[in-house]
Symmetry: C3
């Protein structure tokens, strides 16, 4: 059992750690010690906070935090010590790792796990109780396999990979280094590929496509809880380096996602879609099969992507929320919008 961590870091040490300029004030000098992070409204004088979203600017005026990470232009409104930084959110992200209280693994193979004799494990690997490592699996150094995870035959994981709990890596999947996979994610399930057999066959209406491809996950990829990524039918499903994927995302067979792209929760991407680099795909988006999305594209939430996108930019579909009484009147008119158009045209032609 590890000890409970206690933190005690001075403001000047923090300024050094995140490369910020410290401006102290009457209450808190540079030797003043803090013990953690909190939001502007929740912080007391033992905590550091940050301002990166203008939505919370009013909270700055009344914060009790010992110090706030912020842009130089906001320093004048800060009642506490200031940690001036050009990217407060990034500085906060770095600082959050210093105040990390996540329990740390013990780097051992638990006797209640199952590890095949033909599996090859690197140095300092953790395999928790209930985890299953099947034949011919290869695992790199410092990798953590959480409780009740399953790594099927011939899968390979690189160094510094972390699978939290109940993650499934299906057979032959390849995962590179520094990858985090949250609980319940499934990597390498069969794609949804079936050929109709034709109506004259009474035995079987669908012929399943055998999926001989796999999934390849690049470096520093993040995958959320209960997300599923299907293996390729022919060729592989490919997730490039630095892609981040939220919870409950569905990525179908043979999808390719370019470097640095972010995909928010509940989005579904159909088979053989190709997505470029540094795209931002919001939550609940649906992308139809076989489309291509250029690099640098942003797609707003719940958009139905029914065509390829060849130019960077922001895209959307759907309508915006209103009271259901108003909405009901409008959707009735939408059902005959083409007719309304014709009527306007007729008036114009008169």
């Amino acid at each position: 059992m590890e000890l409970e961590k206690t933190f005690n870091i001075s403001l000047s040490e923090i300024a050094n750690l995140i490369d910020a300029q410290l401006i102290i004030n009457s209450h808190f000098d540079d030797k003043y010690k803090v013990s953690g992070l909190a939001t502007l409204s929740n912080a007391d004088n033992t905590k550091i906070s940050f301002l990166s979203n203008n939505r919370y600017k009013n909270d700055l005026l009344t914060t009790s935090a010992a110090a706030v990470i912020l842009l130089a232009e906001n320093a004048k409104d800060c009642p506490s010590a200031c940690l001036i930084h050009e990217n407060p959110y990034l500085a906060y992200a770095k600082l959050s790792k210093i105040f990390d209280i996540t329990p740390k693994p013990q780097m051992s193979i638990d006797s209640g796990s199952f590890v095949s004799q033909s599996a090859k494990l690197g140095a300092n690997v953790t395999v928790c109780v209930g985890a299953v490592i099947m034949d011919d699996v290869v695992i790199g150094d410092n990798t953590f396999i959480g409780p009740n995870c399953v790594i099927e035959k011939k899968a390979s994981l690189g160094n510094d990979v972390k699978l939290t709990s109940n993650v499934v890596i299906n057979h032959s999947v390849q995962i590179k280094n520094n990858v985090n996979i949250q609980s319940g994610a499934i990597i390498g399930s069969d794609g949804f590929g079936y050929a109709p057999t034709g109506i004259d066959n009474n035995d079987r209406l669908w012929e399943k496509i055998n999926h001989s491809g796999t999934v390849i996950i690049g470096n520093r990829v993040e995958i959320g809880a209960n997300t599923t990524i299907d293996r390729g039918a022919l060729g592989d499903t490919t997730i490039s380096d630095d892609v981040i994927i939220d919870n409950q995302v569905h990525i179908a067979h043979n999808v390719c996602i370019g470097r640095g792209t972010a995909i928010a929760g509940c989005t579904g991407i159909a088979g053989s879609v190709i997505i470029g680099e540094n795209c931002r795909i919001a939550g609940g988006v649906g992308i139809t099969g076989h489309l291509s999305i250029a690099s640098g594209v942003t797609i707003l939430s719940m958009t139905r992507v029914n065509n390829s996108i060849s130019e960077p930019g922001v895209y959307a579909s759907g309508t915006v929320m209103q009271s259901a009484d108003d909405w009901r009147k409008n959707v009735i008119r939408f059902k005959n919008l083409d007719n309304l158009y014709d009527r306007v045209k007729k008036i114009e032609d008169r």
Copy 2:
């Protein structure tokens, strides 16, 4: 192994159990015994049925049920004995527990489970085979941990909690009393929080935010299969008492949900959203981050909630279904709806 339950309860006993007024008829007297519940159309004369949805009113006229739970106003259309109740659906819900055939656990710690020596378990706790209880976990009385569930370090569960199978409770999550969590749900995964590092950094495009908050689940909360609830980044994700959540719902970091709110399947709620009490959120709804929803709000299915809602009421977005041929004509006109508006205005101005 428990015995197969057989039921044999008289109509007058049932009237007492659910506090209904029994009106017998020529076929079934008050000592007539029934053995279970069924729908109006499926029930035979050994079963009780109920009418709570007017959609099924025609089925009442021809039901073979021994007795029907219904409003007084519907008694005249009932060919069987009547169990008059002011809330037939609630009476049915109570009766459904009496006819429960769900296999009951054996209140023991299975030798094929793993329970850390530092975990503290209450009285009559069941831990099924394959379940993992890690260090410093606290579990209350009468709680049931199903097969292959994982309870990570320092999590706490109250009394009368039930986790079905393959549920994951991540580290430090707090769950109160009388909570039901269906199979495959993940409570306490990391939120989707990453700071872009800026384009000049070739090593890493995203800096992960360490999530130091947790998830707090209130009393009598119900959570569906494969639902995911992320832990807070700073501060906690909070699900209040009596909240009911369906399958495959995604609740992001730092969301707060007020007492009694119901959330149907496939809904996604982005980070830091605050939802009031007694809301009804239908299936497939998407709620954008950082919004506030007042108490008493109803949101229709598949609505894109893109603004905060400050007044109780019913809200919606999207359009309604029609034949694809008509729909294709209308969506083309929608793409230029603003232009159509301008043309109408021009005509008016003439």
Copy 3:
């Protein structure tokens, strides 16, 4: 450990296996041997490819494949040997099984699994490490239970069923023959059924409905990763023969799905919906409770199905994607579309 399979099959053998007409050319004769399948653009001269989607017709002209499965009408554009078939996609599906490299199970009960003494297992059953088979479960011949799957009490599985990894079959669920269930799927969770107790009750705002029904899965059904299917409240949830279901689909209590229907990823179907035979339901569709959908219906992606459908045909809702700048102008006009309609009518009436 099985040997790595190596394939070496001549073009004439392949023509026989899939019942195609072989047309050789100067480079590849009928004794030429191939070792696998690939897409038109990725295939080298050791591979077979196929053309079934006109989207990839240009790739045919330049393919390096040894032979291509295609319609007779496309043979003239093929630089390689031709395997003429009237249904190239079906022929490819059949051939994909011949080149199958999925690791095969060893047909044994792993000593690290848990099998109740009251469970009845057929011949050649595989139960992998970590799998849990509870009391009174019945399993047919040649069925495969992957690692960390849970089969709860009284469930029954037929012959040739395959559960990949971490699948949960809740109590009393019935599964017929030749069914494939991908990792993380949950079959038989409780439905989302709760009766409001009324506002005067401070103890409990919702009374849970006990679900006494189960789930019945027909023959040759396919179920995707992390899909959830709820058990019936009264009566059963029923999935007929030859239904295919993709990943992350949510099927609520008492839904009935007719033979041969296909349901793509992220679709949600609310309680008591009845769907006919041979329907095609695309991804991200939402179907409101208690509706009926006729046989032969196709529903386009992300459609909000808010009414029953009594006629075969294609149905849709929503709008199509455009640039967010244009979209924002149009959605504002949509919010007052009924008013625009009235204004047009007023002009017409002048």
